[in-house]
Amino acid sequence: MSDISKDDLIDFIYAEARMLDEGHYDDWLKLWIPDGHYWMPLDYKQDDPLFVTSLMYEDMFMLKLRVERLNGARTFSQKPKSRCHHVIQRPFVDKLDNKEGHYVTNTSMHYVETRLDEQFLLALTATHELKRIKGSLRIANKRVDLLNSDAAFGNIQLLP
């Protein structure tokens, strides 16, 4: 089985951001391993996803629900639909272990979401824990730290 290179990891992160921006959610869900979690902490440097509140800590069922809802006939908060845009900095590769098939990247991003006349910007750091499954990279866990996670927000409807 061929080794994953640093470029492979970086390309993966870029491709994921593009899927989210273009709304290819079915492809995006396929990037995940079944017991993965998308975590967005509420507190700066929060280390516990379970016993304090997070903005998100979602398993595959919840993520599937989230993206299917976006296209629902009676999803009124998506009439009209939101759009989003990630501008990402070249990811740091914090772990590259081809023996275990285990990888960690750290990526700074600016995320813009818009709907009707409203648009907002979030600065964030995404930490991806990736695994090599049958030769391909998969997301084992993704942690999204908003720079202003403790601020009061209106709706954040898509996925930073």
Binding site: L42, S54, L55, M62, T75, F76, S77, D150
Partner: protein, 452 residues
């Protein structure tokens, strides 16, 4: 003083509430909002925080009562004080961070006036500059102003801004039973705040949020997109058991009308009330290994059973909080302007109960109350559309007529009714009208008549 020149009189406020309908001005008018802050939020008992947010002497946290910046602080006598967050000198906020420890005294960062943690003035630098100036005769020399009254009820801190007014017990009456039940669910009879609250900004009037807490005819409609979709996905997966957490938490929103009708709504005087008299979407939440055993040990089996059999859904403590006893959650609706409301959603740990309970409470909070929550998205969309729609001059009145008895209602007694009634919303407006107008001037005409 420009800000004080409000033209509405008590009779104008009275005329906005007419039994089964309210005038849209109650949601849209800036003057009504100003009057709410000055009268309603001053005359009633408003939630501040939980004592566990300030456990040690000198611990404080900053928040708002309506539009008033305040500090909750643990004084040197271990009591919890609530002070206006304003230096008596030039108005600078004494504390700016959300929480911290100030030691034995507060010190203003601008000119170093310092105050004990009950607000009393401790020292002013170069004080001889005030000799003979008469400063000591002004209220500015007395220190940081405390709110009118403070009550610590089983750990929950409430304040009344006005010095004179209704007593705490007289205001809340038997509605306190919902807080009792939430606290009693701890084998130790004690709660502790778990982390910071979610903070969710809503571009709508605060009363829409409060009303929605007992609106049992919206879940199956507004939340079809989230709860209905959850059910569909689960079925498509072959209805796996145990159900995924999202199914347990979100899917019950799709319960049929009959479920909500049978659930029941109880109203108490002064605007308080709750859904879930007979059962609720939280009815099946307590079966966690070891929990009942711990409760039985603490209370005896029959008392433990009666505590856990109470499954109230949402309890409104008028004017501005909602409590969910079975999942130890409190939502604080903080009005920032007529069309802007900050919602802070807190969760609490049941001392001596299994951690799984707290895990579900935290999960409920992020699934339902977060700015990233799909259920939250459903609700906020409705509130903000309503705020915009109310600007229409087509119809000026908002209808609250569901299960209205057809004649004037008596809100001075507790009542239990069909779970889909809008009586609790009418109950809130009855209290709203009364606590708004008790300290408002009557119209000029009647004031003159009264003087004669």
């Amino acid at each position: 003083m420009l800000e004080t020149r409000l033209t509405l009189k008590a009779e104008d406020i009275d005329s906005m509430v007419q039994g089964y309908q309210v005038h849209r001005d109650v949601y849209t008018s800036n003057e009504v909002y100003q009057l709410e802050m000055r009268h309603l939020f001053a005359n009633t008992w408003v939630f501040v925080g939980h004592e566990s947010q300030t456990p040690k002497q000198g611990d404080y946290f900053t928040t708002q009562i309506g539009n008033q910046p305040v500090i909750q602080v643990r004084h040197t006598d271990n009591g919890v004080k609530v002070l206006h967050n304003r230096c008596p000198h030039k108005g600078t906020k004494i504390a700016l961070d959300r929480e911290g420890n100030t030691g034995k005294f507060f010190r203003c960062p601008y000119h170093a006036w310092s105050f004990k943690t009950d607000g009393c003035l401790l020292a002013i630098p170069l004080k001889n500059g005030y000799e003979g100036t008469g400063l000591d005769k002004n209220e500015n020399s007395k220190g940081m102003k405390a709110v009118g009254a403070v009550k610590n009820y089983r750990g929950f801190i409430f304040a009344r801004l006005a010095k004179e007014g209704i007593d705490f017990e007289e205001f809340f009456l038997d509605s306190l039973s919902s807080i009792d039940n939430m606290v009693d669910r701890s084998p130790a009879g004690k709660l502790e705040v778990a982390g910071p609250p979610l903070r969710y900004m809503h571009k709508c009037n605060w009363k829409m949020l409060v009303e929605n807490q007992t609106d049992t005819c919206h879940p199956m409609v507004a939340h079809e997109s989230s709860a209905g979709t959850a059910k569909k996905i689960w079925k498509k997966l072959g209805s796996p058991k145990p159900q995924p957490p999202a199914m347990q938490i979100i899917a019950p929103f799709m319960s049929p009308y009959a479920f909500f009708e049978d659930m029941g709504i109880r109203t108490w005087p002064n605007g308080h009330g709750h859904t879930g008299v007979n059962h609720s979407i939280h009815s099946d939440y307590s079966a966690i290994p070891g929990y009942f055993e711990a409760m039985s040990k603490a209370y005896g089996e029959s008392r433990a059973k009666s505590i856990l059999d109470e499954n109230r859904h949402n309890t409104i403590y008028f004017p501005s909080i909602m409590v969910k006893g079975p999942i130890q959650q409190l939502r604080n609706f903080i009005p920032l302007s007529p069309d802007k409301t900050l919602v802070e959603s807190y969760i609490y740990r049941l001392i001596d109960a299994p951690d799984e309970l707290l895990a579900r409470t935290a999960m409920y909070n992020r699934m339902i109350n977060a700015p990233t929550s799909i259920v939250g998205h459903d609700d906020l969309e409705m509130y903000e559309r309503a705020q915009e729609g109310l600007m229409s001059d087509g119809i000026e009145w908002v209808n609250l007529q569901r299960l209205y008895p057809g004649k004037e209602e008596d809100f001075s007694k507790e009542a239990v009714e069909n779970g889909t009634t809008e009586r609790q919303m009418r109950n809130q407006f009855d209290a709203w009208r009364r606590f708004m107008t008790t300290t408002m001037p009557q119209s000029t005409v009647s004031a003159i008549e009264a003087a004669e």
